[in-house]
Symmetry: none
Subunit: 202 residues, 2 copies
């Protein structure tokens, strides 16, 4: 007989890059499957078209598409051409297409930012409530983990914004080519681990 707990079940994890290589691979596979499944359900439910492209840490490409990856991507890129095909040169069309694409990405980032902001607002309330008084009644451990997630998420969004600026700059420096000459390196040296603010004297 066993009164011992067999599994701790799912535990909360930090939303930071996994260092352990094998565990990273497992999580990549699991979550990629989950993401594609979500996308599939999404398409079925709403009857909309969607495409996902992901690159594994080993740079292998995986994709999902309804009705197909190419169809959706082409539609995404052609949407711009259709909008501007009344104007003159091919170069102009291409240029403006890029602009519209940038605009789309802005909107995408805005949505993500809204989410981050919402979450962080919630967190701010919590922090404030904590500071006010009843912090000894607050389930601090859980909540503050969420806080960190919020902050982490918000910072990532900030980075993306900055990167997008680089893209825009590149667009206009070189009139046509959209190639990513911007670094695109996610250089967030997150120093989220730091108890050095006040040492634990227990």
């Amino acid at each position: 007989m066993s009164t011992k707990k067999l599994s701790k079940g799912r535990q909360k994890i930090d939303m930071v890059k996994i260092k352990n290589e094998s565990y990273l691979q497992v999580t990549f596979s699991k979550r990629r499957a989950g993401l594609f499944k979500k996308a599939s359900e999404f398409c079925s439910l709403t009857g909309s078209e969607a495409a996902i492209v992901v690159f594994s840490p080993g740079d292998k490409a995986y994709s999902f598409g309804c009705p197909g990856v190419s169809e959706v991507i082409e539609k995404y890129e052609n949407e711009t051409s259709h909008l501007v095909n009344s104007s003159s040169t091919v170069e102009e069309v291409h240029h403006r297409a890029n602009i519209i694409r940038v605009n789309n990405e802005f909107e995408a980032l805005q949505a993500q930012l809204d989410d981050a902001k919402k979450r962080s607002d919630k967190l701010a309330e919590i922090v404030e409530a904590t500071s006010k008084r009843y912090w000894w009644q607050v389930p601090i451990n859980e909540l503050n983990i969420e806080q960190l997630e919020c902050l982490k998420f918000a910072y990532d969004e900030l980075d993306k914004k900055v990167q997008l600026r680089a893209i825009v700059a590149g667009l206009f420096t070189d009139s046509i080519s959209f190639d990513n000459q911007n670094a695109s390196g996610f250089g967030r040296a997150n120093g989220l681990q730091s108890d050095k603010f006040f040492n634990n004297d227990e």
Copy 2:
């Protein structure tokens, strides 16, 4: 007073296209947000690149990309075929004037963002330390007020970024009509085999 059950909670739904138009819109928004969030977590966790493009039932395009939609899509297309971008030069001088202006604003905002980020990083340390344990020893009142200020400041900067997007859009709306009112709501008979791809266990 009510002893009655207020909500039935989440109920299982058929994975078929929703007919009710307004409910479809709600579900589209909710699930798109969830999908993008999942993708964001996925990227953070695995450090991999990913892009999502979706078209709403009204054919509006939404996208998510890490580090950017274009980067990922280009990388994806380059894997299959090495198509070369025909580079040309466009003589849109007056256009560039506006462009430079936008770029300047971007740089100005970036500086502010860097500052906001720096301050927020500091705050993150505080929050982290607080979450760890000895929060009851922290001079919470002071620190968290600063936290809130940092957050507020950061969010204001983000909002400015978003506003700048509108400027970018506005710059080009005189050259090209931006809003697509085509919206020929077409009902696709979605025959997407969603869950066949991933066997539901059990």
